[in-house]
Assembly symmetry: C2
Homo-oligomer: 336 residues x 2
């Protein structure tokens, strides 16, 4: 990405193994993230290599890699992590002491042909399927979007019998609906205004759809919940307005799980949230912590998060994929 | 309280039973709260009746009161609640559908001779001791200050092996130290600059004291925790600066339990807390939910939260009590 709106497919030096803990992965599937659209709107400065969600086949591994071998089909969470530090052991791999973000510094981006994966043992998860398996779209969502929706649900303390609202009908929000249903939520209210998306949300488990915004949305959610609001809000947008909506539809004693990257400075309403004992939780999702837990439900077909991909393009068409997502023509674009 | 700095002891109409769920309680002990000092600094407008922490003897009860009887020695949490609504059943009595605050509308203040207690069955807890028992100071802390410190610790997810920082060396902070120790915290760092208070904090269980503020405090806490910060922060002040300190000393993946009434509008650092998966929790403490749990440790003397009272005055001396607390001459003042 050279600047806002300017994504190009360019030749870069071939990915190669540099450290004994590296793996070299040939990318077979990657995708474009809602969070890629923030720089697509506003990026200035040096060109960036893009893409942090991918599945691929291991081509080679460094001398110290022990659990990953050439030929393995692997999914990469959206950061690399060593798997052994205190934060990794606690399941917060996004705060790993050796964390690296795809596309940053000398780490390759996932929207490309191949990637050097640092700390391959800690980072990659082997998939027990061939590289052209029909489940690939669903498995690819473990890299970020489904794991992130799940993180929102966990952070918002979704559980059996809980009422849930999901703010945002993007791919993360839709996966949040699915995750909330999986965790036993009783009522799942999806806030979104794109019928194609909210229809998919209903198939994923939404019991109600609120297609208005702001004050009207707050009123609608309160009416759907006997006036009290919901136990759990999954904030899947990251704008100040969406956080404000979240804070007004959450029930006293409830929790907001936020996974939309905040495009604002401060969380408004310090006193109302205090008086109502609202918990604000979540953050950048430690996808690596969740993949093993979510994998069986994707492998056996009981969950189909891959349905968030409604367009597949070639690597060369990547710029067009960004445009389609930015213009809301596509929910989420797969590069295969 | 007629205005900032202007507290007077005045005759008001006698408290009396108005509803069949009321009890009439003769106040034997009450006290002044750190939160009373906010209006003492800045109150304007109509005069307010003060005091929300008290112990007393039941003089009479309404026809529908079934668990409380005349002669009972009782402690009142700092709001009255019906004990039967969904919020009460969930342990969030501060959001009770019939909540009432002492000193508001037609509910008497606790800094007085007698109080009409609405919803006596839901509100009051009977104490198995005579009204002049030596344990009274400790039992009085269950009304608010110790329960609030405990709420901070619970909200900050204190548990065995956790590292904890307590921001603020007032009575709530000191009770937070005690609550953190009770819940099994391994390291308890008390941030405060008043030696008399931090000395008591050490006796309550603080393992370290940080007597500087702002950036220096952040550096000191990080040094005491191997650079990472603490798992749990108890924010017991309510100023923007103290929240900022809390947000900078909390470890990635950690939690802030805030119980200081916020004197500011928005929680700064929406993005750093997101990137570090920091949870912000807490609020006005549902003291009623905790009294039964904390009571045995006070009754058997294993905890002595009553030590936060370092001055006892008569009801007539109440204005002087406010002055002493505002001038930091006293940690917490009991009226007996």
């Amino acid at each position: 990405m050279h600047a806002a709106g300017d994504v190009r497919v360019e030749d870069v030096p071939d990915a190669s193994i540099k450290a004994p803990t590296d793996a070299l992965v040939r990318v077979t599937r990657s995708c474009i993230c809602g969070s890629d659209l923030w720089p697509y709107k506003s990026h200035a400065g040096e060109a960036m290599r893009m893409g942090h969600e991918f599945i691929g086949v291991v081509e080679d591994v460094g001398a110290e890699v022990s659990t990953i071998k050439a030929g393995d089909v692997v999914v990469a969470p959206f950061v690399s992590s060593d798997g052994s530090c205190t934060f990794c052991r606690e399941g917060l791999q996004t705060s790993c002491r050796q964390v690296a973000f795809w596309g940053s510094a000398d780490v390759d981006g996932g929207q490309g042909e191949a990637v050097r994966v640092p700390h391959a043992d800690g980072t990659l998860v082997v998939l027990p399927v061939p590289e052209d398996d029909a489940l690939m779209p669903g498995l690819l969502t473990l890299s970020d979007v489904f794991s992130t929706g799940h993180h929102a649900a966990v952070s918002a303390r979704v559980g059996p019998g809980r009422s849930v609202a999901v703010v945002g009908d993007g791919a993360v929000g839709l996966c949040g609906v699915m995750a909330a249903k999986r965790l036993g939520a009783e009522q799942i209210i999806l806030l979104g205004r794109h019928t194609d998306r909210t229809d998919l949300g209903r198939e994923f488990g939404a019991t109600d759809v609120v297609a208005v915004r702001g004050k009207e949305a707050v009123t609608a959610v309160r009416e759907l919940t006997g006036g009290d609001g919901v136990h759990c809000v999954l904030e899947c947008v990251g704008e100040e307005a969406s956080f404000l909506t979240a804070s007004k539809i959450v029930r006293a004693g409830g929790a907001i799980g936020r996974v939309g990257v905040p495009q604002f400075e401060a969380l408004a309403g310090a006193r109302p949230s205090f008086l109502r004992n609202v918990t604000i939780s979540g953050g950048i999702a430690p996808a690596r912590a969740y993949i093993e837990e979510l994998l069986p439900d994707v492998l056996d077909g009981s969950l189909q998060p891959g349905r968030v991909f409604d367009r597949t393009i070639s690597l060369e068409e990547t710029p067009e994929g960004y445009r389609a997502m930015a213009d809301r023509e596509a929910i989420k674009v797969m590069i295969a």
